[in-house]
Chain length 507, copies 4
């Protein structure tokens, strides 16, 4: 098996899940690249043992939340064995209360995958048929329609129940590009619904998989975006003929913030081979901070993301169920593992971090439009009377303001629910969704910065002096956006540039 | 001519514009209801005189921003008479830098209409052909594709330029349900592009019409939503068998906040004829504040909206151009009339007001789910073991959190642009857009409240005791959503209820 | 009687209260200037009749909240006539739960005054001895120690109870500059505590007088600050030799936003008599927007304040009690008049407005430090090598950020209290307190702007060319801060300049 | 040498600094406990070598920022050797532009200490006399008066210059409890001012020591507060007779978030020996989430603080100077090490984390006041008719709202300064200050929670059944606050309770 570890087999385009090693990258490969999913044998046995154990405990007459007792405020109501199937169905039905917008297919796949993996930890007590169907739906390309609004982030119960509908062969799914009845899709794929028993329904809904799955995708995308941000920064340094001394390895060794050091190394790589890094005795002592401090800002975002990722990794491979089966001790413990404040806060921080990234790319574009800093015409106009990139500054500033707004924390804004029994929550799905919204806007901002840099380089006529990496960016931009020689509508150019940033500038 | 005044002729489904009497209602009639637009004769003459005067002033060699001088930071660059047409075209081109999402057709019509009306004030110096083409496009159903991101709200220049493209017969428009080339649409409708001269291009872009037009629609919609909110409140008062004394006319006379008094009167009207207002000697001394204080909260929103509307009315009928022609004094004055801080702040306040409306509807739903306040089963379940509306509380709380986030002000988050020359802005398009986003979520929240109230009334069996207005709401809801007798997926019900609230409960 | 109306008698330095005409100015005169308070005879009779009527209603056995029934969640508990005195005392005791910081003497006086006036409306049913003691304490200079934290703004019960302690002769007060026992102070002033009966205790605490009183002072101070802001703007226009055309009366006539027009008129007055308004044919077409648009920004704040003041005026002269006596109908009505969302929202808007004022004064200072806009040395240094006002920019930017933070709305951040019965609130005391904090910082910012302007004028040597008003500002600043001829520590200068702005620049 | 490592010698009450091992705890010991400071010999030699090297580089004619070239925008201006002393003095003077409030003595000591330690890294090029004087001032108890407003957090230059004044023997300091002239204090302590040369002045101001020093104190205090929060949580679990299963070690092993596990272990320790942990077969399946999930919330704050501390540790022991001497390579490198986005973001996250801690303590108090959850009287009243802790809920909710407001991020709210050269900043001093403000309010909130728990335990009469740790808390509270048997003013009790929480409940 070849791959990047963590159960990933690139040759077979497959990911083997065992409840302990799921990574952001594996989530992306399955959700977005269509890798197949397989279940580790020992993990499957663990699940079976869990289901069995749960039955034994119930037979001993122990009150079990969501099995022989109701859920939420109904936890005081008994559920008889005869009522189990109806109880499970009702639980799925009554929890299906989300509203749009709906998860994309890629997002829905990530959600399925994450819950599948945490079921394999063995603390759910779910019957094996459920994770098997999750796997089969993933491999068959069946994606339940999952709404994104309706969870306060203390388990995504109102949203994950929509997966439960599909498991029951009800509701709708996305299949082969169409929205069709779940029953039909399962039949077409040769799959059968599952009869939910014991606490299966609770196992399906009592998870933060919506938050985790969409969060894993969002973080992964941000990591790629930050790589592009470094690339565009390098490009802009070429455009402004900036000083490279803040990238010096020594200063990052003497004040070793990891993210900043990584970012600086990345920028140096893009610049390598060009005149900028070769230059000796630049007369400039300083560039604007949006250039000079940029590696610290991009690096801060890298640090924030690394922190968030480390916590998300724990969650994706941990026992998130309540109640939680402790297999090795043959116990069932009422837990509060659905409370994900720790990594929700990390995600809030990531949002704020990106608002700083937004600020520095915006300011770099503005500085590139200023003769004071470039020695070129204002707004990088090719000739007098041309407005060139003057108006685009409004587009930049308006998107930056949108990002500032989206970076405001919301996690502490919740209402006590269920007769005040549920008096803490985190709004995690919303926190995650805002990160996605920020990301979309950052593509535009970095794209416009790249437009500025390319234009400045053309005005200087220095594109032959670029580094190997920055030359590549220049080519990527100029392939789709010609130099601005006379005023023209810019919206299309901006769209193209954003697309290029999204695709990344692989070295 | 019959109508509600303000140039509105309902018989002919037409609005006559003269630059002095455009209202929110007229904007809605033209934008959403397809009323025709006509131009008052005296207003047209004023425009012609303005264009003429501008020519005279230019001939005297006076430097005129955007005519014989460049715009923005280029204000120091001369523009010769020979360059005028190219200058005008370039100005439109270079300013077309907005990015999506795009205005709906209704929004685009409102934008056209507002700018058309402010041109009629006579301070633009625009050639009459421009407002005439705006009128013709409106009447022919041609809507320019206008992006919504790209303006910082100190004139929406980067967005309104996209109208300018259509005026030049370039770019794309929405016409008869399709997105086609502007040139084609104009030709199909028997219209011709305009050759822009003097400061025509500046007149097209130097306006806040995007903010004003979309803002007028948003405010109008909110006014209708608040009427529905009062109706739903009345419905919930029936459901909780609430006390009506806070609606008493006397207390509103003794503390005369206008909005609260209006809201109370409105609720009384919905309750009229029912047992609630007839009741004497209720044993309850108090309801929860989300019921008891609701008229003050809805009323506060009414007050905020009335304040915003009064300011918007000034703008829609005022001289917003810079420079500004003072016709009666035959002068051209450099102004800062594009700065719309005053009503932007009012719109920020409206957003915060709606976050309070969100809070009280959310809390009313939660209280209706609590036996303590209703004497009914928890979560209004029809029978033991049913979860009923328990999970929907998550949907409510998550939407309320989204609204809390959207209500955060953003107007002061701007970057100094154009070499720091443009160091104030208001982000008005974003402020307005957020109000629309809040409104969408409020439909859901009020819909879910109505679902609760209907269910409570059914559980009590008191639907015969309702007021005339609340009986009507009951019917409206029950026409599309049957009483919940067993758990079922609720997302569809929520969608239906939201639709009913959006449609309103006309008495 | 001479005065500005509204019961103010400037000759006798007295204000006559009748529950219907209290103004911001009267609040200031009594609270800060020591004007005596008198009670209108008819108003006193109204109070007496109210107390009497309340007794009659109670004798009829009607359940009355806070008289023969408990308060809050205890509203279902009966209170016998024999228990009345103890009940009243306990109510005051149990509500005294506020925490520091404490109101200043001036603030405490405003609070006493406001509640005194709303008691005179006649809807409280309080015994006349209570408002009489409020009056006597005001006239004797006895100020109860009132904490500022502890009210969620749905009546300031936990704070106003601390006045109740003083009325009972308990707790501490501020008297003749010292903090002493209330009993001692009353005795020293020849006053006696009041035995609270019927719903007297409720009348004392069930009011928003803390919010209203401190709010009235804050708004009044802001109005004066805005006058100073206009003055400093005029001064800076002199310093930058700015264009005055945006002040032109005609453009404000053609787009009649009231605040902007007032601000422009004010600035014109400060400039009158100087060369700036006399100038013909300035070559500059435009100044930075922080100068050019400033009247619209200051004006927006004026509009916001006018809106807030109009609402506050209603409250200060209205029936805020719950339950509310309707004297003319001899009824007691349970009301929700303690809900002050409408004017709380206005105050939130005022905070946001001031964040815009902060932005423009900050930017004006930055622009005055830039050779691009002044033609003077960078940072207005008198000679090469001097850093002059370079570092002060950090002080400016840090205070502006503090203000941005303080302008964030908080009114919707509340917790449902009292078993969810109290599920709406407004955090009004906090909203008001933040306005005060913003105001303190604005004095510094405007002071630093004035320092910049004075320095620029000295560098130009144009102080003889100033207007009559701006010459006066110049003198006021230069009286305490000499021109900067060499670098010196600036903190003291900044303090002095802030003091000058606070004092105002009366024409 | 005994101590906790990191150069701390508890026997001698001294800390040895070497630029590589300063910890939060050492900062506290020196700043708050008066530990002496010593300088490691090798570190002192490093400083001397740095100063020497700087001289050599300058002699080679290399342009050096802040030595032979001006600073900030003046970086293009040459400074001759003859001008050096005046240049250094002017630099200190001109940067002294901060405004109040002022740092406490403890804070000022932390700031001196941190900068002293980073100077010892050897990258400052400062003459040894400067760090020696810092050490001597610390040991003599001389604390410069340092304002807290005036830095945007990209080096605290406008604030640290006030230390520079003291080094020059100018300005004022705090000494032996008085505010006296620096010259006098130095003389009294037998110390002499330093003549600043080369880039000494820049070394003094170009540091983030104000942010780092106050931040280190704030984080240390929060760590202690979180310990108290766990203790109070344990106390409340006793009061509500809560379930302890969410504290189970196994569930934290299966989902290993470090902070949550630590918090749970801490709570278990407080409960040990009591009946709660001994209980078998509790009939309750669940407590409210504010109890059940509390360890996850407290733990999230622990995680956030640990992340912030790890980054702060890097900064306190790293080369923060710009330009930065790379001693081993004999180079001077222009760096951007003053950009502290990474740990500023961590501090923003800590603020948000504490707003969640605020929410759960607030909700626990509210739940303890509710018969539904305790089976005791409402508001924990000892008898009918007593309001008990009913009003205190307002105090709780108002402080929680203040904290929510203080937790809003501000780091991205900055203005581009110095001719747009300084277009990134972090507002770190403000971010840190807000954490302190939150902490103050949390003492009150946790104190009120402890009051509730003690009262509930007394009402149950279960104080003999407490764990060893919770018994200790009970005693600590009851030592100063008697059980509430009849209504009494509560403000004093709240103050006492807050004091107890601040002191901590050491096991």
């Amino acid at each position: 098996m070849t791959g990047t570890g963590a159960g990933i087999d690139d040759d077979r385009r497959a990911v083997v899940l065992d409840g302990s090693q799921l990574t952001l990258e594996a989530v992306r490969l399955v959700a977005a690249e269509g890798y197949r999913v397989e279940i580790d044998e020992a993990a499957a046995q663990r699940v079976e043992r869990g289901y069995e154990l749960l039955g034994e405990l119930a037979n001993q007459g122990i009150p079990i939340y969501g099995l022989n007792r109701g859920v939420g405020l109904n936890k005081d109501q008994e559920v008889s064995a005869a009522e189990q199937e109806a109880f499970n169905r009702n639980l799925i039905y009554s929890h299906a209360a989300g509203v749009g917008p709906y998860a994309s297919d890629i997002q829905a796949r990530a959600v399925l995958l994450v819950r599948l993996n945490t079921m394999l930890v063995g603390s759910s007590g779910v019957q094996l048929a459920v994770p098997l169907l999750y796997k089969d739906m993933l491999n068959a390309g069946i994606s339940p329609l999952i709404p994104l609004s309706g969870s306060v982030g203390a388990a995504d119960i109102a949203l994950l129940s929509h997966i439960g509908l599909a498991v029951l062969g009800e509701g709708e799914v996305s299949f082969r590009g169409e929205r069709i009845a779940a029953a039909q899709a399962l039949a077409d794929a040769g799959l059968a619904p599952v009869k939910l028993m014991r606490k299966d329904a609770l196992a399906i809904v009592s998870s933060n998989a919506l938050s985790v799955g969409t969060g894993a995708l969002a973080l992964g995308e941000l990591k790629r975006l930050l790589h592009s941000a470094d690339a565009v920064l390098a490009f802009s340094l070429e455009a402004i003929e900036g000083t490279v001394s803040p990238l010096d390895e020594a200063v990052h060794r003497l004040l070793p913030f990891r993210g900043a050091a990584e970012s600086a190394a990345n920028v140096r790589q893009y610049l390598a081979g060009g005149t900028l890094t070769a230059a000796t005795g630049s007369c400039k002592l300083q560039d604007p901070l949006s250039f000079r401090s940029a590696c610290h800002v991009h690096g801060a975002a890298r640090d924030a993301i690394a922190y968030a990722e480390s916590l998300l990794h724990i969650h994706m491979n941990g026992a998130e169920d309540n109640p939680c089966l402790v297999l090795d001790e043959e116990r069932l413990v009422a837990s509060s593992s659905f409370d994900i404040t720790s990594w929700t806060l990390a995600m809030e921080m990531v949002g704020i971090a990106m608002s700083h990234v937004s600020k520095v790319t915006s300011h770099r574009s503005l500085r590139l439009g200023s003769p004071v800093f470039t020695g070129l015409n204002r707004f990088l106009s090719p000739a007098a009377g041309t407005i060139a990139f003057g108006t685009m500054q409004k587009t930049i500033a308006s998107l930056d303001a949108e990002i500032r707004g989206l970076s405001q924390p919301v996690s502490a804004d919740y209402l006590p629910l269920a007769g005040d029994m549920e008096d803490h929550a985190n709004q995690t799905p919303l926190v995650v969704r805002k990160i996605g919204d920020i990301t979309e806007r950052l593509y535009y901002l970095l794209g416009m910065e790249a437009m500025h840099a390319a234009q400045a380089i053309d005005l200087r006529g220095t594109h032959d002096a670029l580094g190997q990496g920055t030359a590549l960016i220049y080519q990527s931009i100029r392939n789709v956006i010609p130099m601005l020689k006379a005023d023209r509508p810019l919206s299309r150019d901006i769209e193209e540039a954003a697309r290029r940033v999204r695709a990344g500038f692989a070295l």
